[in-house]
């Protein structure tokens, strides 16, 4: 019986060899796809798509992004759409699993024939389809991720970043901390991937000699972070800079409470959505009596988008109105994140002209003066696709209901390296002046 097995194994090797004449990894550069096409555009619709985690562990935090964008597109369509066309926004569930992302993206591009991809979510996920999108000539606008790779026109000519670069953000926060807490002993608490390493690159430019402790966590392996927090406590740190997602910010804060450790928390924008933090704290503590608002009171954070509790901001008021009419659930900053993507896409589509092609959409994006709704300038030129270019620094003050975000420092912009941090200089338009629907 050994023989047939050997024969079969030989057959396996031979047949497989026959299928591949050259090296498996040797690929030729393909010629760029034709962009002067209007795939997905009909007389009365424009179909676009996105991949988002709608189920699974990651959906809890991010489901709201596509819901926010959907609500905004419903509003835009009710206003008459863009150049008389309704925007069909298709959301496919990828469960935050890159395998599924590849699958649903191919479904969107080849099955649904989308005009453009808007806000594909996640670094591990979206990075697996960015090559495919550029090969197929599909504009890839505003991925929902802060990775640096989206700002790489050479390699990904059709991709335009959205979220503020983690390094720029951390740099501005670090300078604020260095100036306003001159005696602080600093601890870094970060996610063990590009979120953490990019953030530390910025933090170190101003805080390197103040750091007394640093500890990371793995986002894929949910675990207690008590060890990290107690190492901060032992090192005598009195200020914790947290480059982390909301779940781990909340876990850190809870553990600090549990250990009687008091420190000033400074959390970057990805982890500091206060409505989300409040809900997470309640969930993890399993204690309704926990004074959640007091725990969050005084947290310093950065931001680049209008936020739920900026009640005087015209865009926040506008988003609240749209959400009341078209949205589901509670308005959170995550929902606003998606709404802003939708507004910006609609504006670009409008500027792309009566008969948009993929090329005219990209031209519109590259030549756009955005002027909002973000709080800082937005880079989407041929050379720089960094998205939101800076942050403002703010502090959460607990109060009635949502509490308020107190602005500590005006919006600043900077570069990734040793460049100056300068005030942002731009005119922000309100929703009434912003030309994004008929």
């Amino acid at each position: 019986m050994r023989k047939p097995t050997a024969v079969a194994a030989g057959a396996l090797a031979l047949t497989l060899l026959a299928t591949s004449c050259g090296g498996a990894g040797e690929v030729e550069e393909s010629a760029g796809a034709d962009l002067n096409v209007s795939v997905g555009v009909t007389d009365d619709t424009v179909t676009i798509g996105t991949h988002q985690p709608l189920t699974g562990p990651a959906s809890a935090g991010y489901l709201a992004i596509s819901q926010g964008a959907s609500a905004m597109f419903d509003y835009i369509n009710d206003q008459g759409g863009v150049h008389g066309r309704r925007i069909e926004y298709l959301v496919k569930d990828d469960v935050y699993d890159p395998t599924k992302t590849v699958e649903v993206t191919q479904e969107l591009v080849e099955g649904e024939e989308i005009f453009a991809m808007l806000g594909g979510l996640g670094t591990p996920t979206h990075s697996k389809v960015v090559d495919y999108l550029s090969e197929k000539g599909v504009p890839d606008l505003f991925p929902s991720s802060g990775a640096l790779m989206w700002n790489d026109p050479e390699q990904y000519p059709l991709t335009y970043g959205y979220q503020v670069d983690y390094t720029k953000e951390a740099k501005i926060l670090a300078k604020y901390v260095a100036e306003n807490f001159p005696d602080a002993k600093v601890a870094y608490y970060y996610q063990n991937d590009d979120v953490g390493s990019d953030s530390i690159a910025g933090l170190d430019q101003y805080l390197a000699d103040r750091v007394v402790a640093d500890a990371g966590y793995e986002s894929t392996a949910p675990e207690a972070v008590g060890g990290q927090i107690s190492s901060f406590k032992e090192a005598g740190a009195d200020l914790v800079v947290c480059a982390c997602i909301p779940a781990f910010a909340a876990l850190g804060i809870l553990n600090a409470v549990g250990q009687g450790y008091q420190a000033q928390w400074v959390i970057t924008s990805i982890g500091s959505d206060t409505p989300t933090l409040r809900a997470l704290l309640k969930e993890y503590a399993e204690d309704d009596g926990l004074p959640v608002d007091q725990l969050l009171d005084g947290i310093i954070t950065s931001g680049y988008l209008p936020q739920v509790n900026m009640v005087d901001d015209p865009w926040t008021r506008f988003f609240t109105e749209v959400h009341d009419k078209y949205g589901e659930g509670e308005l959170t900053n995550t929902r606003i994140y998606g709404m802003v993507q939708a507004v910006m896409f609609a504006k670009a589509l409008k500027a792309a002209g009566e008969n948009p092609t993929r090329q005219s959409l990209l031209d519109a994006v590259e030549s756009m003066e955005w002027n909002g709704p973000g709080l800082v300038p937005f880079a989407s030129t041929a050379e720089d696709r960094g998205g939101h270019a800076g942050v403002l620094v703010q502090q959460y003050r607990a109060g009635d209901g949502e509490g308020v975000m107190e602005q500590l420092q005006e919006p600043m912009v900077t570069d990734r390296d040793g460049g100056e941090i300068v005030p942002a200089d731009f005119d922000r338009l309100g929703p009434d002046e912003y030309d994004f629907h008929d």
């Binding site: 047939p4 396996l12 990894g25 191919q106 063990n192 392996a221």
Partner: protein, 372 residues
Amino acid sequence: MASSLRRDDPPATAAAPARPAAPRRRALPVLARHLAAAALALAAIAALTFLVGPLEHLRIARVGYLLLAVAGLQILVGASGQVSLGHGAFMFVGAYTTALTVLHAPAVPLAGVMVLAVAAGCLAGVLVGAATARLHGPYLAGATLALAVGLPALALYFSDLLGGSNGLRFALRGTPPELSGLLTDNQWKALVVWLTVLTALVVLATLSRGRLGRRMRAVRDDESAAAMAGIPVGRTRVTAFVVSAGCASLAGACEAYLLGTATPSSFSLALSLSLLAALVLGGLGSLWGALWGALALVYLEAAGRELADLLGLGSSVADNLPPVFFGVMLVVIVTAWPTGVHGALRRLGGLSARQRTPNPPSDPPSITTTGA
């Protein structure tokens, strides 16, 4: 039974002349039959890819590599009676072997990549199998569970080499230039995946029909009796584990080939568990069960999505309907037919056969392959 088992043991030289060419004469037609069936199946799938739209190509290929992973599990669970909750980890091995080979040695042909993936999977299978061969029941399940949870974390630990939680991505050759007008990249890749899968299935089916298959079933049914009959129980169990791990690894390599990515989050515990669920749903004990299971994994979820669209549900319900739909179908099928889809089909076949002939075959071969 005992005599038939003894016959296939390494024969003493003196015994050999008694039945000079018996095993060979019987085995070769089996292999030839399997190869013919596989060739037919491949032709059928090639024809199918021309009939359906480009979207289906990816799904057809998915069915292919999931079928292989479930078939590997079938050998382990159905034939040798061991259980593994960690087969996703072997797919992880195959996918990362492919990724690393393609990235660091792009000149290696695809066949070489696949062979390397099988070798890496078998090696992992030897290590794990040797460690777990003494474990039974819940202890074995627990050990393999640890594997499913722990192994993907390697990618985080060696993040420089394995890309951390963002994983690795790479480009692979698509349709050869000579065929580029005829086949799309996805169609080509689907065919390559199915060629690989069918070739591996031929090996599996031939192994199951042969000595190893009989030994595994003997060990599964009664270890003591098998040992008394001279079967090396430990070695048989480990061999089953190795074969099974090799299949899962090859399935992982096919997935990486198809999608051009390897990421730890793709090889979660959920994957390992759904492979096992698919096996139970398809039917334990037959490679056909693996096919039904793989089809269910791919198409039940798609059906759930379409059902959600049809019903026009709110997004919070619609998003969660596909996994619920799969779960409900699993429960319904296993309740209605405890032997899975294949068991049900075979009973139907048996009923009609009994109506035709007064004497039904008393013991239908439990592992069959006659094409898809």
